[in-house]
Amino acid sequence: MRLPERFTLTDAILWTIRIGVLTFVVIGSYLTVSQGLYAQSAWGSFITAGIALGSVYALIALGYTLVYGILFMINFAHGEVFMAGAFTAFFAATALNDIGMLESNLFVSIPAILLTAMVTSLIVAVLLERIAYRPLRRAPRLVPLITAIGASLFLQYTFRGLYGARPRSYPTLEILAGDFVILGMSIPRTRAIVIVAAVLLMVALFWLVERTRTGRSMRAVSEDKDVAAMMGINVDRVIVQTFAIGGVLAGAAGILYTLMFNQVSAHMGFLPGIKAFTAAVLGGIGNIAGAALGGLMLGILEAVGPYLLLAGFGVPSPTQLKDVIAFAVLVLVLVFRPNGILGRQEGT
């Protein structure tokens, strides 16, 4: 952020926006709370739903951020990587269900399903890199973006052709129905599992990037490809590894997503993909902690925002405007912090 020496028109406008937003938030929240539209348990439910969805966004966002950190390109097709895993694992799940293994041998069946999803996503991600992105390493930055958009359409319709157009539903697990009660607050089991699993995966990624040789090579490549190559790092391999890690995380995210919503279709990846992309940018793209934070923020904003801010004003169907709130927050955050919340700011 360039520090202004005097109070310019831009500053005036920025301050007006700050004050306007603050007033809107305060009045909106006050009106909602004072009217007592929602009970406390409802707020609890909004927040846990938001966190659960947010952690899935965060897992997908990590894939965006990792690739961006290394190649400086937006892998627009990452949402489809997520879809590929979840959609393919559906067949593993139904097959297990048909032979009665799903419910009886949970410790065999769940890892099997998870593995199917992760491996499929990994294969799709790596193929994507090999076929679509590798030839474009040195191309101007718009070119890989368009390629990624093309790949996204291609993958959506490929899986639609392979597995059919209609949405499919995972078999439900009795054991996952019902609530856990934690600190007097009840939270649906699926949500709790999703949140815990997402946190574990993120910790694992942290460890991988910070502590392992692979992680060190990845960081080196993201600093400077040429220097890294001179130091004896195989840049191509690191890039493939990055895509593979992103793919595995997306596959896992796919299974967590279906745990909550149990429906899969060829187009299921597009919207979460865009949301995760938003989350990655919100947090500061290229920054792993930022992706996690951005995902959570976005999830909570979507779940809580419309009710807290809009319901009080008597806006009809506030949920419809949840994405308006999410994107408006994104715009505002970037207006004040152009490189995202945790992104490195220029000149500060």
């Binding site: 909004f46 209609r166 499919r168 539903s169 429906q263 187009h267 319901a311 506030p318 949840k322």
Partner: protein, 421 residues
């Protein structure tokens, strides 16, 4: 080179001039109705003179009768349109020949939006061998498509347009009919069911931003208030691609409604059903014909049990639907069960067209047939007591043909069972 170029240029200029002079009178003017009046289809000839106001379509011996379809067969709504398309294909399959000719289907995509409807309708009406159109899937595509087909004098029957405006006095286009239920009829039926049968006084609604769902729930709200003084505790809107409905349902649950009406489509509908069972277990759930399908039952699983759905009475046709239609459908589509509901309406629409063609076609000795477009239109609008699989169909002056008796079914152990009226 130069010389050659110059000569060919002059030649092309000449051709263009001739083309412009010749073409103008025939195609000019907004009155498109006169253009497609082609006796242009195929070779047919003889001494036949077409006396139809709009024009005739002629099929020579051995030429198939061509009908078009403009249904959504791509994108996220594809299962809606593909299902209807399969319904038409089943009708063609089971029917065999019509007036001694095979039937050929030219399937176009309406994209479930206005521009797709326009493009599909223009494509079909610009082909003078298309005698009738089945479409569109979505009302937003239907609005421009009805106008274009009517201007061109091609009759169009929609299996799934439900928007009231399409058959309202002011907006109705003369060549447009539909076998789907008008939202006003279906919304009112559901309100009546809730008031009279269930006796509830509070309800909440959800729509998905489609004209269909938005209109249905609006009609329901209106009638619910009117018929039994019911209170609407909340209305919400979702996206058809949304998957997380927990916040929406939590927010609606705050109003403690006895009844939740969400006339949306299979994918989102199944998710709402599952999530609503956990968040508001006491509330009765209900939807409309957009979810009245085996695909929905499969997607929603056990959560669907006890849910109410309004739709056509498919038991009307006796065993025909189960024993003949469904196997043929599987054959045509490769799916084990219908993927949506409007295949039944599409099947009826196709058969209405075939019946009307047989009624108005003038057959010559060599098998050549002539079909008057206006005559076909009039025959369709005169349809009365047509026994289809969605009921007994009678067309009104504004093109509403659906059997007005809407039934409500309850899901019992994973199957529909008719409970009302």
């Amino acid at each position: 080179m130069q010389k050659y170029m110059r000569w060919s240029a002059i030649l092309v200029v000449l051709m263009l001039v001739i083309a412009a002079c010749q073409a103008d009178p025939g195609t000019g003017g907004t009155d498109g109705a006169s253009t497609p009046a082609g006796e242009s289809a195929g070779t047919g000839g003889g001494d036949f003179e077409c006396e139809d106001e709009v024009g005739c379509v002629t099929y020579g011996p051995g030429e198939p009768i061509r009908i078009g379809s403009a249904l959504v067969i791509s994108g996220p709504d594809a299962s809606l349109g593909l299902d209807s398309q399969y319904g038409v294909q089943v009708a063609i399959e089971l029917r065999g020949d019509v007036a001694g000719h095979e039937i050929e289907l030219d399937a176009q995509d309406d994209g479930c939006n206005a521009e797709g409807g326009t493009a599909a309708a223009r494509t079909l009406t610009s082909d003078p061998t298309i005698v009738a159109v089945i479409g569109t899937s979505c009302s937003s595509a239907g609005v421009p498509a009805a106008q274009i087909t009517s201007d061109a004098g091609v009759v169009m029957i929609s299996p799934s347009n439900t928007a009231p405006s399409l058959t309202s006095e002011e907006e109705h286009q003369p060549f447009y009919l539909r076998t789907a239920h008008n939202d006003t009829v279906q919304g009112e039926a559901m309100a009546r069911f809730v008031c009279e049968e269930l006796g509830f006084t509070t309800a909440a609604t959800i729509h998905d931003g489609s004209p269909y769902a938005e209109q249905l729930q609006a009609v329901f709200q209106e009638q619910f208030a009117e018929l039994c003084d019911g209170t609407i505790t909340g209305t919400e809107a979702v996206e058809p691609t949304q998957t997380d409905f927990n916040p929406v349902l939590t927010s609606l649950a705050a109003g403690e409604p006895e009844f939740l009406y969400y006339p949306i489509f299979t994918a989102a509908g199944a998710l709402v059903t599952q999530q609503a069972r956990e968040i508001m277990p006491e509330t009765a759930l209900a939807g409309a014909d957009g979810m009245f399908s085996d695909a929905f039952l499969e997607a929603a699983g056990d959560a669907a049990n006890g849910m109410y759905l309004s739709g056509p009475d498919l038991e009307f046709s006796g065993d025909f639907y189960e024993n003949e239609f469904k196997p043929a459908y599987s054959e045509v589509s490769g799916e084990d069960a219908p993927i949506s509901v409007f295949h039944a309406h599409a099947f009826d629409a196709a058969n209405m067209i075939f019946d009307a063609i047989e009624e108005v076609a003038e057959v010559e000795d060599d098998g050549t047939i002539h079909i008057g477009r206006q005559a076909l239109r009039d025959a369709l609008f005169a349809t009365s007591g047509f026994e289809g699989i969605t009921g007994s169909l009678t067309c009104t002056e504004t093109g509403d043909c659906a059997d007005p008796s809407i039934s409500v079914s309850e899901v019992v152990e994973g199957a529909f069972s008719r409970i009302w009226p």
